[in-house]
């Protein structure tokens, strides 16, 4: 099946036609041959017949020649004879060869013709040999046999010819029949062949069709088994290819399909999930719908709570709402006081005898129990089970519920409601009411927090406002003295002024500079106090004396005012920082004068308010302070009624600083005031330890300066300051020496042994003031020389620790320093006398201060007539009672 159908069909038909052709040729050749053979036989037999006829003629002549010889003995006969004999013999041989395969004829020739001829030849021979012819008189007779034989032979010949002719005809007929048969055979074969070819083709095709059919049914086995050859083969190949493509496509499709399938499955799964979620949502929705109603009520409840942040309205709203929501008839809210650990009724409804039940202890009754446990409690009296005392016990209640309000585990109070009818509080109601109570608790907490926050916020806002007010004030307060200082300085520098005028200008400059310094000090003090860095140097102080000093000072400043002192006799001494208390007194007095602009009395009282407290009152009859401003009066930067009072100078710091100072002493500064009528500021100070009740000395005396040693060493590298000190001290009768560096101090001290050293801390050279002070105090030869520190560095305590006798922070009033020098020079000899009653109170004060500075405790001067003797430099005398 290797060839194409066309080839095969062609080949088949060529084969069939060739076969028919060859068969015909073979058949024709065969028939022709047989016909020729038959014809040849006919010819041969015709030739043989002719030869037999000729032989017969010649034999007759032979016989005629013999007869003539016998009769005549003529030799010529003999020759004729012999010639005939020879011809007969020759013909006979020819006939014999012609008829060689016909034994009948040969037999006739050999047995009949040849002997007849031989007998004629023998007769001749005999006759010739002289013998008389003995037989029939004529030899021709002898030929009788011969003629018979000849006839016989001829008859055979004829027969033979007829047979040959007959077979020729037969062959011819046979040939036709054969041809017919053959053609039929060939046609049959062709048909068979065609059938097989057709069958082979149709088989493959039908196989292919089957294969295709199976493929269409998804079975590839048959197709795979099909051999790919010939025409159908190509079809198969093409089909296979097509199938392969289709299969590839199909695989793609299948793959795609699988993907789609997978996606579809996924989607299905998701869908199922969504469906289940939907169901869940639906379930939840149902639940939510149920809860919505509750929430709506809750919302309404909480909405009602947001309407106010004020406590009382809030509580009333809460109670009304809860009673309504609970379907109750009575209810109450009790708030918890953490300090007293009690619950008190704040609002109630439906209750008549709340007074009796207004206060509850923790754990007392059901209400107290609910509060203590911070848990809801329900009492269903209908069942007659609970007999514990309830808030509503006085009523014939069916049931009551106690709802503690708790925020962050802090008990705020309890809400309780009760029903008069038979309905109990079921669990749903209990839960709902608990939720309401929780919300109420939050609202309550918010309200409380809001109150606090609002207050704090107001305070902060106020403080902020005050601070910006301060900036304006400070700006004004600082600019005013600065304007004077700069203005007069400019006038002095740029204009020609008379000496009197110049002095006036300078005085103004000086005063304004002092004022500026005061302002700056105030700011600094406040700042230090705010930072907690203000140092107090306490000493035992006679308040009466301080008051006296201040009254005199301020009286001098205002002729409009009349300053009156009212100091209790035997006012105890107090242990305070004299300078600071002085500052406070000064502040209160200046305020009293400032805020009573139309003048009038200012009364200063000092008295013992109790066994351990001294009070000082400063009363004026001026503007007074509005009640609402009194709380803030001591706040830093606060000033009353800014528009009306700004004229009155000040920084708004004085009272703040004053109160801080007094409080730092363990005391208090308070105000009582009626707006428009005046104010009373009260300082109360603790008396402190071991303060005998002395009779404080008051009076005005001259300072008596002892001139035992008048040498003062000024250690100062600022020439202007040094010059000022020198001039002032010289003016007070002292001799001075100035050095500007630490190293020079020791030479001067050894050589001249000054009574006092005034030491600046910042010095040129290697040694600073601290080094100088240390070295002086370490050397026994110089340690007794008192050292006054004059510096802009405010480290008073350090100075005292290192052994400084006094400490001045620049800028300071120069006369204060001179006072200190006075005191120290008089004590430098080791003996200080306190003279009689005519002596200066300042001396007493100075001694006291000095002693205290040195660490002594001066309890008071009982008898001024007594002589006070103190040995200085005795370090072991750490604390000594001096009378």
């Amino acid at each position: 099946m290797k060839y194409r159908i066309r080839t095969r069909i062609l080949a088949g038909f060529i084969l069939i036609i060739s076969a028919i052709f060859i068969m015909n040729i073979i058949s024709d050749i065969e028939n022709h041959k047989q016909a020729e053979e038959a014809m040849a036989a006919i010819y041969r037999y015709q030739n043989a017949e002719a030869l037999v006829v000729s032989i017969t003629v010649q034999t007759n002549e032979e016989a005629a020649a013999l007869r003539g010889y016998i009769r005549s003995k003529d030799q010529r006969y003999v020759i004729a004879f012999e010639n005939n004999c020879k011809a007969v013999e020759q013909d006979l041989n020819s006939v014999e060869s012609l008829l060689a395969d016909d034994p009948d004829s040969v037999e006739i020739i050999r047995s009949e013709i040849s002997p007849a001829l031989n007998s004629l030849a023998n007769i001749m021979t005999d006759v010739r040999n002289g013998q008389d012819y003995r037989g029939e008189s004529d030899p021709v007779v002898e030929l009788e046999d011969l003629l018979t034989a000849r006839t016989k032979l001829l008859e055979i010949m004829n027969n033979r010819q007829a047979a040959a002719l007959k077979s020729l005809t037969r062959y011819s007929r046979t040939s036709y029949q054969e041809t017919l048969l053959f053609d039929g055979l060939i046609t049959f074969l062709a048909l068979v062949l065609g059938f097989f070819i057709a069958r082979s083709i149709t088989t493959e095709l039908s196989l292919l069709i089957r294969a295709v059919r199976q493929v269409s049914e998804g079975d590839y086995q048959l197709l795979e088994r099909l051999k790919a050859n010939a025409d159908v083969g190509e079809l198969v190949i093409a089909f296979k290819n097509m199938i392969r493509i289709v299969q590839a496509d199909k695989q793609d499709l299948e793959q795609h399909n699988e993907e789609l399938q997978a996606q579809s499955e996924e989607l299905t799964a998701q869908n199922e999930e969504i469906l289940s979620q939907q169901e869940e949502i639906q379930t939840n929705w149902d639940k939510l719908s149920k809860q919505e109603a509750i929430l709506k009520r809750l919302y309404n409840f909480s909405q009602s709570l947001t309407s106010t942040l004020d406590l009382e309205p809030l509580l009333n709203t809460v109670l009304a709402s809860i009673v309504e929501e609970a379907g109750a008839e009575v209810g109450a809210i009790l708030l918890y006081n953490q300090e007293t650990k009690t619950l008190k009724i704040r609002t109630a409804t439906g209750l008549t005898q709340t007074e009796d039940l207004s206060s509850w202890q923790l754990g007392e009754g059901l209400l107290g129990l609910a509060a203590q446990k911070k848990r809801m409690l329900v009492a269903n009296y209908g069942e007659g089970q609970l007999k514990t005392k309830g808030l509503h016990g006085i009523l014939a209640l069916a049931s009551e519920i106690y709802l503690p309000m708790v925020v962050n585990d802090n008990l705020l109070g309890v809400i309780t409601v009760g029903r008069l009818d038979g309905d109990k509080f079921n669990s749903e109601e209990q839960q709902f009411l608990t939720t309401l109570a929780d919300q109420a608790a939050v609202a309550l907490d918010n309200a409380i927090t809001h109150l606090d926050t609002r207050q704090t916020l107001l305070q902060i806002q106020e403080l902020d406002h005050l601070k910006s007010e301060l900036i304006n004030t400070v700006s004004h307060e600082l600019r005013t003295p600065l304007a004077s200082i700069l203005g007069f300085a400019e006038l002095l520098l740029k204009k020609t002024n008379s000496p009197a005028r110049a002095t006036k200008y300078l005085e103004t400059i000086y005063n304004e500079a002092v004022r500026l310094t005061g302002l700056i000090n105030n700011f600094l003090d406040l700042q230090r106090m705010e930072a907690g860095r203000l140092e107090f140097t306490k000493s035992t102080v006679d308040l009466g004396r301080l008051i006296n000093k201040n009254v005199e000072l301020y009286q001098a400043q205002s002729s409009q005012h009349n300053l009156i002192e009212d100091i209790e006799d035997g006012l105890p001494l107090v242990r305070v920082d004299a300078e600071r208390i002085d500052q406070v007194l000064g502040n209160l007095l200046s305020n009293a004068i400032k805020y009573s602009p139309s003048g009038g009395n200012v009364v200063v009282r000092a008295f013992c308010s109790s066994s351990d407290m001294v009070e000082v009152e400063v009363e004026d009859y001026g503007l007074g302070i509005p009640e609402d401003a009194q709380d803030n009066l001591f706040q830093p930067f606060f000033r009353v009624d800014n528009s009306d009072r700004r004229q009155i100078g000040g920084t708004g710091l004085g009272l703040a600083i004053s109160r801080k100072i007094i409080r730092a002493h363990g005391g208090e500064l308070k105000v009582r005031s009626v707006h428009g009528q005046g104010s009373i500021f009260t300082i109360s100070l603790p008396i402190g330890k071991a303060s005998a009740a002395p009779k404080p000395f008051r009076g005005k005396q001259e300072i008596v300066v002892s001139q035992a040693n008048d040498k003062v060493l000024v250690v100062e590298d600022d020439q202007a300051m040094a010059a000022l000190l020198v001039e002032t001290l010289n003016g007070n009768g002292y001799t001075t020496k100035v050095v500007d560096n630490g190293a020079a101090v020791f030479t001067v001290v050894r050589e001249e042994l000054p009574a006092v050293i005034i030491l600046d801390l910042t010095l040129a050279g290697l040694l600073d003031g601290w080094d100088v002070l240390r070295k002086l105090k370490q050397d026994n030869a110089t340690s007794k020389v008192p050292v006054i520190i004059s510096s802009c560095i405010d480290k008073r305590n350090m100075g005292v620790e290192l052994g400084a006798a006094d400490y001045f922070v620049k800028p300071f009033p120069i006369n204060k320093l001179v006072e200190s020098v006075h005191t120290l020079t008089r004590m430098a000899d080791g003996v200080v006398g306190v003279p009689g009653p005519q002596e200066s109170v300042d001396i007493e004060k100075n001694i006291r201060e000095l002693l205290e500075f040195k660490g002594f405790v001066v309890q008071g001067v009982i008898n001024r007539e007594e002589l006070l003797v103190i040995t200085l430099g005795n370090q072991s005398l750490a604390e000594h009672e001096v009378i």
Binding site: H476, R479, A483, G487, L491, D644
Partner: protein, 132 residues
């Protein structure tokens, strides 16, 4: 004689202003607050007022604006002395109708010059602080 009224609650500033103008040949009067100044103006109208802002009773701005809104006193030159913050004093002086303003601390020599110029021209160049 040119009459100048100095209005300031601070004695040192009044003194400074009067001392500055002392030798210039003006007739100088002083007032310690706005109300007193108003009384003086009603009695004896000055040519120029040197007016402090921060004063008790009637502030400088209030007095200024009152004078500038009154036809009888509108022509009085007003020089404000301010000690407040930076920008709003200029604006407030302007709004009150002041002719000029000086910030504390001020230069007495400049004050002398400003007063002289104001009286002479009644107009001052803006860069020198005019509020007009």
């Amino acid at each position: 004689m040119v009459k100048i009224l100095i209005v300031d609650d601070e004695p040192s500033i009044r003194f400074l202003v009067s001392a500055s103008l002392e030798d210039e040949g003006y007739d100088i009067t002083e007032a310690v607050d706005g109300l007193q100044a108003y009384d003086i103006i009603q009695k004896d109208k000055p040519n120029l007022i040197i007016l402090d802002v921060m004063m008790p009773g009637l502030t400088g701005y209030e007095l200024c604006s009152r004078l500038k809104n009154d036809a009888s006193t509108r022509d009085i030159l007003i020089l404000m002395l301010t000690a407040k913050g930076q920008e709003n004093d200029r604006l407030e002086s302007q709004q009150a109708g002041a002719d000029f303003y000086l910030r504390k601390p001020f230069s007495p020599l400049e004050l002398i010059e400003v007063v002289g110029s104001l009286l002479e021209n009644q107009v001052i160049a803006p860069e020198r602080g005019s509020v007009r």
